[in-house]
Every structure is written in structure tokens, then in C-alpha cells.
């Protein structure tokens, strides 16, 4: 229990909240000031996370920067407990990197920028808090808490169908949350604690008839397991719980989409890794094939659906389902091996590789999805259309944008040498020995990834230049500053994934040893 180092963690989580409150104090008539204050101060959480990143000891398998159990709500046994390991720290890093870029991407928001920036930073606290917390109740609060700002970002700054999209997003997520809430209560009541680390043993070993609900522990676990899975599956989203996503993305403002695809979807996957599998190892093992099946369907049907779109943003939105399908497949491997009674060396290695790949894929998809949504925003702002049939020949007027779009698209496609490939390769490798059939089928989705990416590139850039697009303004310096850090990260992770995987791997390995 290191209280001095845990300060960095607490500071990282709550500094965006403080900045958000500070922004409320700014004069409301100065949009420029608001934007710059929000942008510059959004580096504060990033600095805190970076300090943690460089002080993180990868050899130490436990939670680091651990706050210990701080009494918070003793009446219900919930305590404030935060700490990070090699799975949550990369997610925090992703959040802290994407938020300043998304804020910079939002400089063109003219409508109530103060409110907008306030919500954005509020969202950052919710996201960081979710990844950092080790208490179920606090986890749930952050989970719900993240919903509010995102809902308003879509509802107030979204496109013309924002009412429908916002509500769909809200209702879908709430539908999952209710079951999650009930299950969390049952867990807490049955064990007397909400501390995740403690529950890993206490809850898992719980047997017999539970006094609180009067049901057999296994029955309760199955019900709670299903509720957990649905809640997180909606967020990921796993097919067939995905239809909120294309609508939400299409209507959300550019920066909202960047964060939604970049980080919020990862919260679902993180829930699987942090809670579902470790809390329900047996149930997860038994139903791992269902997860693998749904992961495969997400990959394949997501790929086909993306290819079927003519709205560029919808296409990119569906690509998230396609890519997150690999994450689900990786989670299925994790679940299958984790719940295995007597595991062999081969399966253990499969699981280590697949889980590494899962976290890598989460991080990498965060980068490339944010990049793709941003670039769709760039072109939309110039052409005021997202209809792929309307574009054509834009490479001739925006050569640099064209090059950047191809680069980011290729990262998203999983071109070896760029980031997207690393996770997909590891997941495929890890899943091969366990879910061979699903892996083979999911290659169809990988094929479609190529098809929709080329559709996106070809429709916008290629073809004869249409007269209406002559003289489109080239990318501004601000836009370059948003995209270049993402591209550099994509390249660095493609060429030298070690810098990230070294952190992930040791935690993952510890889980399986």
C-alpha cells in the first residue's frame, strides 16, 4: 500500500473533474478561451497517467498505485479502492491520450462550447475512474456516470436524427445496466464486500444456498453471469446487441464518436476481462463457445454490414463491430482457459497469447477508430456530406488528406507493420487451438475488412474529380495536430509493439500462472 504513489492515480482520475468545474467558472462569452483552457488543461491527466506509466513496475504482478481500502460507504460495505495493473493502465493511457485530441478536434464547436467541454472532461473522469476502480459499487457508478455526458453530447451536438440515436444509446445501455445493478447487489449482499480483488476468491468460492435470496449459489451465479454478460456485451457491442452503435455514431459529433469508439466500447471489453471471467470462471468456461460464436458473428456480420453502407460514418461505425469481434473472440479464449480445471501448457500459452492480443486490440482499435472518425469528420466538414456516392476524385484536391486517410485506413485494416495487425494476429493464434472452426469462419470477416476499407478509400479519393469538389481547403494545422500523434502511435505499435505489450504481458501471464 503505497499512499504517495497512489496520489498520482487519484489525481489522474479526478483532475478532469476539477478542470471541468474550472471551465464552468470561465466567462461564457469567450469561446476561444474555453477551448484553449480545456485543451491545455486536458494534458494534466495525461501527464499524471504518463508518470504512472513510467513508474509502473511490470515485474510486479499485483495492482499498483494502490490506494488501499479507503472507507467510503461503510453502511453497504463499499469502499473507495483504486489500483492499476497491466490491463487497466493501457486503457487509462488510451483515454488520457484520446481526450486532448478529441477536445482539439472539437474546436469547431460553436454551440455552447463551455457546456460541451465541461461534459467532455466529466466523461474523462468517468472513463478513467472506471478503469482505475477496484470496487464494484464505484465501478457501477462510473459506468452509469459515463452515460450522461455521452448522451448529452449526442443529444445536443449531434446530427439531425440525434433524438432517436441518443435515446437508443441511452435505453440500450440502461437496459444492460439494470441487470448489472441487480447482480452487483446480490454479489455484495451474499459476500458482504464489493472489493473486486476480494471477490475474486470469496464470490468464486461461494457455495450452497445463499441466505439473502434463498437460492442455490450456482443458480444465482448463472443469473448474475448472464446479467453481467448482457450489460458488457451491449457496450462492446457484441452482435446482436449492436444496433445502437451505428445510429449513435452517425449522429454523434466527431469528437464524440472518437471517444465513443475509442474508449467507451473498451469499457465493455474491460468489464469482461476485469469482472465477468474472473468472477464467474466456471460459467464463463462453460459458455465460452457462445462468446466465441458471437465474436465470430460480430466479425463476419460486422464486416458485411460495413461493406453494405454508403454513409461513410456508418461504415466506420460498423467497422468497430467487426474489429471488436476479435476482442470478443480473444475474451472467449481467455474465458475458456481461465475456467479450465486442469490446464495444459499449450492451452495456457494459447490463453496468454490471446489475452495479450485482446488488450492490444482494444488499445489499437481505440487509436484507429478515433483516427477514422476524425478523418470522416474532416471530409464531412468540407463537403457537408457523408454519402460515399457523392464523393469522388478528392485525392486530386486533398493529396495530404488522401495519404493520411490511406495510412489510417490501413492501420484499421490490420496491415502488418501497423498497429491493427498485432492484436488480430495474437488473437487468431491464441484461438486457433481452441476455437478452430470459428477462427476459420472469422477469416471471412477479415476479408470483408479489406472490402469495406477499400470501398471507403476508393469512393472518396479515387475516380475523376467531381467539379463540386474543386478547391476544397486542405487540412488545417489543428487537424494535423490531432491526427499525427495517432499516426505515430499506430506506426510505433506496428513496428515495435513491445513497448505496450511488455506492460500487458506480465499481468496476463500472472493471471495464468
Amino acid at each position: 500500500m503505497d499512499l504517495t504513489s497512489s496520489t498520482w492515480l487519484v489525481a489522474a482520475v479526478f483532475s478532469p473533474l476539477a478542470i471541468a468545474l474550472l471551465i464552468l467558472l470561465l466567462p461564457s462569452d469567450s469561446k476561444v478561451l474555453t477551448r484553449w483552457v480545456a485543451f491545455i488543461l486536458s494534458f494534466v491527466p495525461l501527464i499524471f497517467v504518463l508518470i504512472m506509466w513510467f513508474n509502473y513496475d511490470r515485474i510486479d504482478p499485483g495492482f499498483q498505485f494502490d490506494t488501499g481500502l479507503v472507507e467510503w460507504f461503510p453502511a453497504i460495505g463499499s469502499s473507495f479502492h483504486m489500483g492499476v495493473d497491466g490491463i487497466s493502465l493501457p486503457m487509462m493511457l488510451l483515454t488520457a491520450i484520446l481526450t486532448p485530441l478529441a477536445i482539439l478536434a472539437s474546436f469547431n464547436i460553436e454551440d455552447r462550447p463551455k457546456m460541451y467541454m465541461f461534459l467532455f472532461l466529466l466523461l474523462e473522469t468517468a472513463m478513467l475512474g472506471l478503469f482505475a476502480t477496484l470496487d464494484l459499487i464505484v465501478f457501477f457508478i462510473f459506468w452509469e456516470f459515463s452515460l450522461v455526458p455521452m448522451y448529452f453530447l449526442i443529444r445536443l451536438w449531434g446530427g439531425k436524427d440525434r433524438a432517436y440515436a441518443g435515446f437508443k444509446f441511452f435505453v440500450y445501455t440502461m437496459a444492460g445496466s439494470l441487470g448489472l445493478l441487480l447482480s452487483i447487489q446480490i454479489i455484495g449482499l451474499s459476500t458482504g464486500t464489493f472489493d473486486i480483488n476480494e471477490l475474486y476468491t470469496v464470490w468464486v468460492q461461494l457455495e450452497g444456498v445463499l441466505p439473502v435470496v434463498g437460492l442455490d449459489a450456482n443458480t444465482v451465479k448463472i443469473i448474475a453471469y448472464i446479467a453481467f454478460v448482457i450489460a458488457f456485451a451491449i457496450k462492446v457491442p457484441v452482435w446482436p446487441f449492436h444496433t445502437w452503435l451505428p445510429d449513435a455514431h452517425t449522429q454523434a459529433p466527431t469528437a464524440g464518436s472518437m471517444i465513443l469508439a475509442g474508449v467507451l466500447l473498451k469499457m465493455g471489453a474491460y468489464g469482461f476481462l476485469r469482472l465477468v471471467v474472473p468472477l464467474f470462471p466456471q460459467q464463463a468456461h462453460d459458455t465460452a463457445w457462445v462468446l466465441a460464436l458471437l465474436g465470430m458473428l460480430s466479425i463476419v456480420l460486422g464486416g458485411f454490414a460495413a461493406f453494405g453502407q454508403w454513409d461513410f460514418k456508418r461504415l466506420v461505425a460498423y467497422s468497430s463491430i467487426n474489429h471488436m469481434g476479435f476482442v470478443v473472440l480473444g475474451i472467449a479464449v481467455f474465458a475458456w482457459v481461465y475456467g479450465l480445471q486442469y490446464t495444459t501448457e499449450g492451452y495456457r500459452l494459447d490463453a496468454i497469447i490471446a489475452t495479450n492480443g485482446t488488450v492490444m486490440q482494444m488499445f489499437n482499435h481505440g487509436l484507429s477508430a478515433a483516427g477514422m472518425f476524425f478523418l470522416v469528420g474532416v471530409i464531412y466538414e468540407r463537403t457537408h456530406t457523408r454519402d460515399l456516392k457523392q464523393y469522388g476524385g478528392i485525392w486530386s484536391v486533398l493529396p495530404v488528406f488522401g495519404g493520411i486517410l490511406i495510412f489510417v485506413s490501413m492501420a484499421s485494416l490490420g496491415l502488418p507493420g501497423l498497429n491493427g495487425f498485432v492484436g488480430e494476429f495474437s488473437i487468431t493464434r491464441g484461438a486457433w487451438g481452441i476455437f478452430t472452426f470459428y477462427v476459420v469462419l472469422s477469416m471471412l470477416g477479415l476479408l470483408m475488412t479489406g472490402a469495406y476499407i477499400l470501398k471507403g478509400i476508393g469512393s472518396t479519393l479515387h475516380g475523376p474529380l467531381k467539379p463540386e469538389w474543386k478547391g476544397l481547403p486542405s487540412m488545417t494545422i489543428r487537424e494535423h495536430i490531432v491526427i499525427w500523434p495517432l499516426m505515430l502511435l499506430m506506426l510505433s505499435l506496428g513496428l515495435w509493439p513491445m513497448w505496450l505489450q511488455a506492460v500487458i504481458n506480465d499481468t496476463v501471464t500472472a493471471i495464468f500462472n
Binding site: A163, Q185, G308, H462
Partner: protein, 754 residues
């Protein structure tokens, strides 16, 4: 030279072009001249380093062959790339390693790739009319004017060269795959280089695609292969526990794999990886992309679709040959599948080439066909013959492509001169008589063409093709392998067609009198273009002499132990391993001398050339005259010209259904129809029940309608009816707040138990 130095140099081989790519895009892209200079510097550095490494390896061969056979890896270096499991920087059992390795096979490949790629870089400057007035329109060819996007062209070419060199020096399957895919991307970018080009519908050639679609076709077709290959790689990785060639391919490791995965498992693994070759090297059934790939600028066709990228597919097979060898030995299906695909492709593509009128089209099919020769050779275990043909083919096919580019360039010049922009400058029917107009192009093209045909003794293609025939014949007759016999017959037939269509092409293009004003006003290309042609033609003649069989014309000529440099040098790569596996006899022995394949080879080459000359060269075609083969072949000619209708078949069976599944089935029916449909029914049902609830409520609690309002608002929101905003926000916030509050209070009060 110390080991450390040569290792460093090996790492640096691909760096030059990769650096040039980055530099051009970031720094010099505004200056076309500076960009090509940077690209040249990069590729010259690569050439120098490749040749240093290649000749260093060759020097080992000259000093001590036995030592090289025992330790074929003269350079090997690796580092941890992805850590898995418990690890320290010093060592790790399960980590994924990356690195480079050089053995004799790498060396000959570096020799060929480094040189041909450099020639093509030199040529490209002339091809894009450097120094002429700059073209106005972006993304289309500007005949006779300097290419405005030349910087981009050289950037992509540099990345391509870098990718190819990475692939060659890779010591593991994953790094090879990275280079492989980077080249795939470059191929996409360069085929679609003239991305804005459109064609008017051409009744003669209905499947003609504009470059941007050709590039998509190339990328997607090869991607089919690549995703299958990816499965092969992960299977490989799981069985062998490593992707490093030298580690996986030891006798011990192969035997262990045979135990764990079984012979059938290894065979399937081999075929999964082989799928990659089928895509990249354009073998049937994935050959359809390569002819369309000719839409790219000609240097691209030369470098990607002749000398380097398509060769990568065969190189992959050579790299994993130990695995294939085990498969050939232990299973009954690996050999027939690989050899069958190869020989079928070789023959099929040769028939297609006979009926093509596009000067590059002929070469495209010829490339497919020649790659089929190599694949067939590997499928029957003729490892060295395949490698030999790969190398000679890289030189003479690059020469032919560049020659055809020079022809097109000359024709385009003619088109500019007479202001004719409708006559196709690539159609051989519009050419004729270019021999006098373009003498250097003619003579070098002739040399390349003869090499392709296997013109006896004085062409590189003769020796390499002859070695394949000799192997096939020996394996087929002496050892009685049916597969080899089929390969022999199929390839001899294909070779006959090859000589025929080559002579047809030469006759139509260069002999007789010009058939159009374009050809009339064509003139020789500039020196940037002719010098590479001359240099390449030297190799197209002489390279074959390094592979004359030790027992060539046994009985007339003395038998030598060292004559076949190619055989002993490349053979050293796998000598020790095959020896340990007991497969030396099967795969590395020089076949016993027989006159049959030599005579067959001589006969088909001369017969084919003669027939081509008899039909097309003796009495050259007049302007507007129909191809003399149209009448005798009848409907068959249409079948050949339309490439056996594979494109039409694929469009019907795969492409249209895919579009339907994507746009209609998945997007509309499943997502919007079924899933959202159910959702909306639930929402409507809720709305209705909320309405009833509201009435009951009104009846019961007069005036207590807060809940009702909320519920109705909620339901209306679901039905996407625009409601008052304030209520809605209030609703959302309240629900979340309420949920949290209820939860905490309820638990605090003891929940169920309380």
C-alpha cells in the same frame, strides 16, 4: 568481414528504400526531381548492400562448400518482438522473435531482386518523361508529358522495394508476411496510380477495368489468399512454437511436429500457407487479378508483376520447402495439389496468352504461366529447378515488361505526334514495323523473348526450363511418379505455346510495316529506358550458364562435379537438413542424364518459335487484318480471348452475392429488419402498456401523474417522436440519478434481508 558487420549490413538492406519512402513523403514531395534522386539513392544503397551480402555468401561457397552445407545460415540475428509468458530481455521461451537471416537462397534472391528493382527505378525516370513539360491533370496518364505525381510514384516504389527486401532477408514467417502485405498495399496503390482514369466501354474487351477497380481487384483477390495464409501461419506457430525458419526446420523439430500434428495436419498447414502463393503468384483459381494489374504504369508491371512481388509467392514456397518436402514424403495430397495447381495454371495461362492483343496482356499471362512452371516444379520436389527458374525469369520478364513499356512509350509518342487519342497504343494490332523505329528496344525484347521461349543454349530461360523438364522426366519415368509425368507433359505443352505466343508477339509488334500512324511515328525511347534494357538483356543471355547440369550431355561432354553452380550453391541451403531427414536423394540429387527432356525442350522451343514466325512473321499482318488464328480456332478463340470466362464466373458466384448479402441481407434485413424491428415492437408495446397504466393511474390516483408523464415521455422517445427537450433531459438525468439513489439507499437499508 566480421560477422557483426555483415549482420548489420543485412539489417540495412531494406532500410535505404524505406527511408527514401519516408523522406519523399515528408520532405521532398513537392519536387519531382529531388524525389526521384532520393529514391535512386535509396535503391542504389539497397543494391550495393544486397550484392555485398549476396557475394559474401557466395564467397563462403567458393571457399568451403562443405562448411556451407553444414551451416547454410551465414547471417542470423534475432530479437524479441512480442513477449508472451514469462520473459526477460535476455531470453524467453515463448516470445515471438524477429530478425534477419541469410543463406544461399536468400543470396540469389537478393542478387536478382536488388538488380532488377534498381533497373526499374532507373527506367521509371525516363518512362515518366522527366524533364518534359509537366502534365496538367492529376491521376491520369499525360502522354508525352512529365508525370505530375512522380514524387508519389517514387515514394510508393521505394516502399515496395523496401517491402520486398524485408521479405527476402526475413528469418521468420511473420516478418516475411509483413513484407508480403506491405507489397500488397504498394501493389494496390501503384496499380491504381492513375486513380482518376476512366475508359469508354470497349466492345472488344468488355472486362477492361479502370485502374482504380483493377487495384481493388488485385488487393481483394490476394487478400482471399492472405487470410487463408494467416491461418497457415498461426497453425504453424502453434505446432512448431516458433515462426523462425531455422528453428522450425530442424530435423528434430520437424519430427516432433509430425508427431503432434500428424502428417495430415502438416499437409493441411502446408496447403494453407500455399494458398498465399496461389494469390500472390497469381495461380489458378486466384489468377484473375494479374491481367488487370497491367493498368498500372509499366514499370509497376515490371517490378511488381514480374520481377519481385509475384516471385515472392514462389520464394515463400522455397522458404518453407522443408515443410513441403515432409508433406510430399508423408502425405499423398500435398504434391498433387501443388503440382496440379502449377501445371494447370501454366497450361491455362499459356493458352490465354495466345489470344491477347494487348502487348502487356500477353506478358501478364505469360507471367502467370511461368510462375505455374515454378509451382509445379516445387510440387514435385524440384526445389533447385524452381529457384533457378525464379531467378532467370525475374531478369528476362523484367526485361520484357520494360521493353513493352518502351514500345508503348514509343507508340504514345506517335499518338501525340499525330494527335490521335482514340487508337489504343497498347494494342499489338496497331503496331508493326517497330523494329526499324526502335532498334534497341527490338533487339533487347528479342533477347528477352527468346529467353522466355527457351531458345537453346543462348538464353537463360532455356537452362532453367530444361532443368524443370529433366527433373519432371526423371521423377516421372525412373521413379514412376504419376504427378511428375503429368507435370512433364503439361509443361512441355505449355512451353510449346510459350514459344508460339512469344514469336507472335514479336512479329506483331516489331516485324512488317507499321499498321497505324502511331507506329509510323513511334521512335526509340530515351536513355533512362534503353540502358536498363541493355543491362538486363545481358543477364537474360548469360545467367543460364551458372546452371548447366553437371552431367549435361553425358557421353559427349565430360561430367563435372562443380559445373552447376546454381545447384550446389542453392542446394547447400537445405543439404544438411534433408540429409538428416533422409530426403536428400529425393529432393537434391541431380537427375540421371536423359536425352528425352533435352530433345523435348529443343523441339518445343524451335517448333513454337517457327510456328509463330510462320503464321505472323512470314507474311506480316496488314492494317485492319484479323488475327489469322480467329478463323481456324472458331469459338475457341473467343473462349481464350475472354480468359476462359473466369471473371464472369466469379462475378456471378462471388461478387454479386457478396454485395447483396452486405447491402440487403445484413444491413437491411437482419439489422434494420429483425433486430431493430424487435426493438421497436418492444418499445411500442411498452408505449401501449404505459398508456393503459396511465389510465388506470388516472382512475386511481387522480392527479398523481408524474410517473405517467415520465413513462409516456420515455416511450415516445423510443418511438423517436420529437418531444420537448427539457423534459427529456430531465427524464434521462432523473432515471440515472434515481437508479443510483435507489440502489444505494436500498442496499444501505439492508436490501432484501432487511
Amino acid at each position: 568481414m566480421s560477422d557483426a558487420t555483415i549482420t548489420t549490413l543485412t539489417y540495412l538492406v531494406p532500410v535505404g528504400p524505406l527511408l527514401a519512402f519516408v523522406l519523399i513523403l515528408l520532405v521532398t514531395r513537392k519536387s519531382r526531381t529531388l524525389s526521384w534522386i532520393v529514391a535512386w539513392l535509396g535503391v542504389f544503397a539497397a543494391l550495393a548492400l544486397s550484392w555485398v551480402v549476396a557475394f559474401y555468401t557466395f564467397a563462403q561457397f567458393l571457399t568451403d562448400l562443405h562448411e556451407l552445407e553444414l551451416h547454410p545460415l551465414v547471417v542470423f540475428s534475432e530479437f524479441i518482438w512480442l513477449p508472451f509468458g514469462v520473459w526477460t530481455p535476455e531470453g524467453c521461451a515463448n516470445c515471438l522473435y524477429m530478425g534477419v537471416g541469410v543463406d544461399p537462397l536468400t543470396a540469389v534472391m537478393l542478387f536478382a531482386v536488388g538488380f532488377t528493382v534498381t533497373m526499374i527505378f532507373i527506367y521509371s525516370v525516363g518512362y515518366h518523361n522527366w524533364g518534359k513539360p509537366i502534365g496538367k491533370i492529376l491521376g491520369v496518364p499525360n502522354h508525352g508529358q512529365e508525370e505530375p505525381l512522380m514524387a508519389r510514384f517514387f515514394a510508393f516504389m521505394s516502399l515496395f522495394a523496401g517491402g520486398m527486401l524485408v521479405l527476402v532477408v526475413a528469418n521468420n514467417l511473420l516478418l516475411l508476411f509483413i513484407g508480403w502485405e506491405v507489397m500488397g498495399l504498394c501493389s494496390y496503390l501503384l496499380i491504381g496510380f492513375w486513380y482518376a482514369r476512366e475508359y469508354e466501354p470497349d466492345p472488344k474487351n468488355p472486362q477492361k477495368l479502370p485502374p482504380r477497380w483493377a487495384s481493388v481487384k488485385a488487393f481483394m483477390t490476394t487478400r482471399i489468399a492472405d487470410v487463408i495464409m494467416l491461418l497457415g501461419i498461426v497453425y504453424f506457430y502453434r505446432v512448431f512454437g516458433t515462426l523462425t525458419f531455422s528453428q522450425a526446420f530442424s530435423a528434430e523439430s520437424l519430427e516432433h511436429a509430425l508427431e503432434t500434428a500428424g502428417a495430415t495436419g502438416l499437409g493441411i498447414m502446408t496447403l494453407l500457407i500455399f494458398a498465399g502463393t496461389v494469390g500472390k503468384s497469381a495461380q489458378w483459381p486466384l489468377h484473375v487479378w494479374l491481367p488487370n494489374a497491367m493498368e498500372g504504369p509499366t514499370p509497376v508491371s515490371a517490378v511488381i508483376h514480374a520481377a519481385a512481388m509475384v516471385s515472392a509467392g514462389v520464394y515463400l514456397l522455397l522458404r518453407i520447402f522443408p515443410l513441403i518436402g515432409v508433406g510430399l514424403h508423408e502425405t499423398s495430397f500435398v504434391g498433387p495439389v501443388i503440382a496440379g495447381v502449377g501445371v494447370f495454371t501454366a497450361f491455362m495461362a499459356a493458352t490465354m496468352a495466345v489470344a491477347q492483343d494487348d502487348v502487356k496482356g500477353v506478358l501478364a499471362y505469360s507471367t502467370i504461366s511461368q510462375l505455374g512452371f515454378m509451382v509445379a516444379a516445387i510440387g514435385m520436389g524440384a526445389y533447385i529447378a524452381a529457384a533457378f527458374h525464379l531467378i532467370t525469369h525475374a531478369f528476362f520478364k523484367a526485361l520484357l515488361f520494360l521493353g513493352s513499356g518502351s514500345v508503348i512509350h514509343g507508340m504514345e509518342h506517335g499518338a501525340e505526334h499525330v494527335h490521335d487519342h482514340h487508337t489504343d497504343p497498347q494494342d499489338m494490332m496497331n503496331m508493326g514495323g517497330l523494329r526499324k523505329k526502335m532498334p534497341i528496344t527490338f533487339w533487347t525484347f528479342l533477347i528477352g523473348g527468346l529467353a522466355l521461349s527457351g531458345f537453346p543454349f543462348f538464353s537463360a530461360g532455356f537452362w532453367s526450363k530444361d532443368e524443370i523438364f529433366a527433373e519432371a522426366f526423371a521423377k516421372g519415368t525412373v521413379e514412376g511418379e504419376i504427378v511428375a509425368l503429368v507435370v512433364f507433359v503439361g509443361l512441355v505443352a505449355a512451353a510449346l505455346l510459350t514459344a508460339f505466343y512469344t514469336m507472335r508477339q514479336i512479329s506483331l509488334t516489331f516485324l512488317g510495316k507499321p499498321r497505324t500512324p502511331l507506329a509510323e511515328h513511334a521512335h526509340e525511347s530515351n536513355r533512362f529506358m534503353t540502358i536498363p534494357l541493355i543491362l538486363l538483356s545481358i543477364f537474360a543471355v548469360a545467367l543460364g550458364w551458372i546452371g548447366i547440369p553437371d552431367n549435361f550431355m553425358q557421353g559427349i561432354l565430360p561430367v563435372s562435379e562443380t559445373r552447376n553452380i546454381m545447384h550446389h550453391f542453392v542446394g547447400a541451403t537445405l543439404y544438411e537438413l534433408l540429409h538428416e531427414l533422409g530426403l536428400l536423394e529425393q529432393f537434391l540429387k541431380t537427375p540421371d542424364w536423359s536425352w528425352v527432356p533435352l530433345i523435348a525442350s529443343l523441339l518445343v522451343a524451335t517448333l513454337g518459335l517457327f510456328a509463330g514466325w510462320w503464321i505472323y512473321g512470314r507474311k506480316p499482318l496488314e492494317s485492319g487484318q484479323e488475327d489469322p488464328l480467329v478463323r481456324p480456332l472458331g469459338p475457341m478463340y473467343g473462349f481464350l480471348m475472354n480468359k476462359w470466362y473466369w471473371d464472369e464466373l466469379y462475378a456471378t458466384v462471388f461478387i454479386r452475392p457478396t454485395v447483396w448479402v452486405s447491402e440487403t441481407l445484413v444491413s437491411q434485413w437482419i439489422d434494420k429488419g429483425v433486430i431493430d424491428g424487435i426493438l421497436h415492437i418492444v418499445a411500442n408495446g411498452y408505449y401501449a402498456s404505459a398508456g393503459i397504466a396511465a389510465r388506470i393511474e388516472v382512475a386511481l390516483f387522480h392527479g398523481v401523474d408524474v410517473l405517467k408523464d415520465w413513462t409516456l415521455e420515455f416511450a415516445r422517445g423510443l418511438r423517436s417522436i420529437q418531444t420537448g427537450k427539457i423534459q427529456e433531459y430531465a427524464l434521462v438525468s432523473t432515471i440515472i440519478g434515481a437508479v443510483l439513489a435507489i440502489m444505494i439507499l436500498w442496499i444501505a437499508s439492508g436490501g432484501w434481508s432487511g
